[in-house]
Amino acid sequence: MTNRLQRFLPSVLSTVIAFVLALVVGALLIVFTDSTSLHALGRGDVGSVLAHVGESYRALASGALGGWDQITTTLEYAAPLICAGLGVALAFRAGLFNIGAQGQLIIGAAACGFVGFHWHIPGVAHLLVALVAAMVGGALWGAIAGILKARTGAHEVITTMMLNYAAKYLLWFLLTKPAWTRPGSTNPTSPHVDGNALFPDVFGFHSGVLVALLAAVVVWWLLERSTWGFEMRAVGANPDAARTAGMSIARVTTIVMTLAGLLAGLGAAMQILGQDNDLTQGTGGSIGFDAITVALLGRASPLGTVFAGILWGALQVGSGTMQAAAGTPAELTEVVQALIVMFVAAPMLVREIVRLRVISKEQTLAAKGWA
């Protein structure tokens, strides 16, 4: 067990350090984008400059986690990121770089939304059917890339990226059809999903959050405790040895991409049945792309992905409060997010900066997907 801890600790530590470093750079940006602070700096009044930085970050933190309301909002933002992030993480573990969470999520959303507003099924069954539709839609979109790779060797980075465009414009096309738009309206906006298809609230947040956490547990079990996960990890870490040991790379690739799409589709259900309630041209936002950074930050582990998803949710929710309370632009959090990922992806850089020996070269996860 100590052995495991020794292997685990450095990665946690370097992630925390990356976060702190990103906040430090973010602090500089807060100062240099605020004219009052700049003038204070000119006068040598460091105290008020630090006060402004402190105020900004305090507002960010309290906006995201300051009370139960804030925490529940953060969790609701995190839920789709966690699901789609799990899909990306799963693919990572099998040596596949799934850029296509966005497209898988959009198709999942379209299927889920259509079932939600077009069909009318009584009671909680409607929610379950819509949930299944979301997962099937995502899984199908993921499977296309998986099958293309397994059958023809087409690189998943290229195919999933292109499938993202296909998904986006397919949704736009559907939203021009009468069956998909609100009666009497030509706006590309779907009707609302039936109330009984939505996630019911528990403890102040929608119950989809619990489904997302459950999904993380299932993915953990799949990876660490099942023969499927064993094969996925073997194929990801050494496809030649996996093949020699009798595993079918083609089969594993197809399964993994299908499951990755399924998880992204589940993320779509979080969004449609928990937040948006309808489909628009903006459905999906940038969740599928954020999911990639969430999975990277979580080092492709289910638990890490959950934490990273919550962190992303918190930064997103807190940024509004920060802008309102301290006048610091909300976009700052996006810069901080980008910096975190950069520092995580460059462990050697972090090691140089903090002179820490425990951070090893092996932790460069991001590069693996391309190999």
Partner: protein, 506 residues
């Protein structure tokens, strides 16, 4: 040049790869450096060649301490190195390779190819290293490529030449030629540091033999020292150089290979109409120089590649087109040539690697659920049985020594009843202790009635284990001989030659 190594130490963290090494290379001597894999030979040579910075100690050339911050410094100081893996550009000619890095140019920056070719011709005549300066390096046989490497070093006016495991890739005849070259270099005053783990070679060509064990020089011996003594110095205890085995008692035919032809991805025939059979309770050795089709033949047996023609039968069942999963299930065990590439997953734990091809077995899973307790218990049992030196079942295989990594692969493959064991280079890069162990396990497996196909480029291994020997050359089995054939004769066959009464023993 007289090269002195004084108290040279290299530490990686707490681990001392080289621990206060003292050595003197006299001018014009062939100084052999004998040691097992991982003993610290390469670390020492990398310090001599400026690739690693010593933690302590110094290197002195003719009384002057050297400061080596890179290979360029070493070359300037007159130290040349021929790496185990050649550093040549295959699409360049010999002359171009030799001038690479210090190209002579004529006016206007035009490369002076003529001068380079003349230099190569001059060196090859002076040292008897026959090679055509205008040939493309990629077209040359391995032995000649090595000569190009030596010429490259000599063109840099090397006075001390380091040869790192130079014989690993050569045929027995090429090894003899290399030794002649080494002797000629010595006569002309060049000192040679000859790194190897092969006892026969150091005795044949060395003037002095220094033995390295666990980062320390444990002694320097004259070439008259017996092989047994040298092996003991190298390993640190008494070793058996001969494998105990009773005469084989071959039973029924297990594997039948009929006219198998394999094409590589570019469409070239790499295995050409190969036929043989392997019987229960015997070891069939397949001898040959690296790259004569053995690898592809083995891959076709396992199902990793599909033969273009021919038939492979396992106890009469056709497995020609079978997948690896199918052949494994049919009772074939496989020890691959390159364990790190095909044998294990480095980041996986010992216990995971021990079930890599058995994960679907009822013993280790029920439906999709892994039986974690059974997997761990299996690992503990195998670790005990196969004497795998590890901190525990959860340790990643990447942190084990080469010998123990190989034992993990062997333990896995022999932990179920098999009809046929295909072992490809089973002891490459493995310490002497593990070689003894793996060899005795293979013999035990034979005695239990398993048919064994052993592919090896090491003649010592072929002779130690085989009951029959097939010699492969250029994709064909050119002879089937008995293990009492002489080294010279088999060497000739491996190089594509023929001997008078070939075939009698088969």
């Amino acid at each position: 040049m007289r090269l002195e190594i004084q108290g040279l130490t290299k530490k990686f963290g707490e681990f001392a790869a080289n621990d206060h090494i003292d050595l003197t290379i006299e001018p014009g001597e062939i100084h052999c450096l004998l040691g097992e894999n991982g003993a610290g030979k390469s670390t020492l040579m990398n310090m001599l060649y400026g690739l690693l910075t010593p933690t302590e100690g110094q290197i002195v050339a003719d009384g002057k301490p050297l400061e080596l911050s890179g290979p360029a410094d070493a070359i300037a100081a007159g130290i040349g190195m021929v790496h185990q893996h050649f550093m040549l550009v295959p699409v360049f000619t010999v002359a171009e390779n030799v001038m690479l890095g210090r190209e002579s140019v004529r006016r206007g920056g035009v490369l002076d190819r003529k001068a380079a070719a003349a230099k190569v011709r001059d060196l090859s005549e002076r040292y008897g290293l026959s090679v055509d300066p205008d040939a493309l390096v990629g077209d040359l046989p391995v032995g000649v490529q090595q000569r190009v490497e030596i010429i490259k070093a000599l063109a840099n006016d090397a006075e001390v030449l380091i040869l790192d495991e130079p014989t690993a890739v050569l045929t027995p005849q090429e090894i003899d030629e290399l030794m002649d070259v080494m002797r000629r270099l010595k006569e002309r005053g060049t000192s040679i540091v000859f790194i190897t783990h092969k006892l026969r070679e150091v005795k044949a060509v060395g003037d002095r033999i220094s033995v390295i064990r666990r980062g320390k020089v444990v002694g320097t011996a004259p070439p008259s020292t017996s092989e047994v003594e040298l092996a003991e110095m190298m390993v640190g205890r008494a070793v058996k150089l001969v494998v105990d085995k009773a005469p084989a008692q071959p039973g029924a035919t297990v594997l039948e290979v009929k006219g198998v032809t394999v094409y590589d991805p570019r469409g070239h025939q790499v295995v050409k109409d190969v036929s043989f059979e392997a019987r229960a309770g015997e070891i069939l050795g397949i001898a040959g120089v690296q790259g004569n089709g053995q690898e592809e033949l083995v891959e076709s047996l396992i199902g990793l590649v599909s033969p273009g023609a021919g038939e492979i039968l396992l106890e009469g069942d056709d497995i020609t087109k079978a997948t690896p999963r199918h052949t494994l299930d049919a009772g074939v065990a496989f020890i691959p040539e390159d364990r790190g590439h095909d044998g294990y997953v480095a980041s996986f734990s010992v216990q995971e690697n021990l079930i890599l091809d058995l994960v679907g077995d009822d013993r280790f899973s029920k439906g999709p659920a892994l039986k974690m307790a059974a997997i761990e218990a299996n690992a503990r049992e195998r670790i005990e049985q196969f004497d795998i030196r590890t901190q525990g079942p959860e340790e990643p295989v990447s942190s084990l020594s080469g010998g123990n990594q190989q034992k993990v692969v062997v333990a896995r493959e022999l932990s179920r009843p098999v009809k046929l064991l295909v072992a490809s280079q089973p002891t490459r890069g493995v310490d002497v202790g593990s070689i003894e162990f793996i060899h005795s396990r293979i013999v035990t497996e034979r005695d239990q009635g398993t048919a064994i196909v052993l592919v090896s480029t090491e003649l010592d291994e072929i002779f130690a284990l085989s009951d029959r020997i097939a010699v492969m050359y250029d994709g064909r089995i050119v002879a089937m001989v008995s293990p009492d054939i002489s080294r010279e004769e088999i060497g000739l066959l491996m190089a594509g030659g023929t001997i008078e009464d070939e075939g009698d023993a088969a």
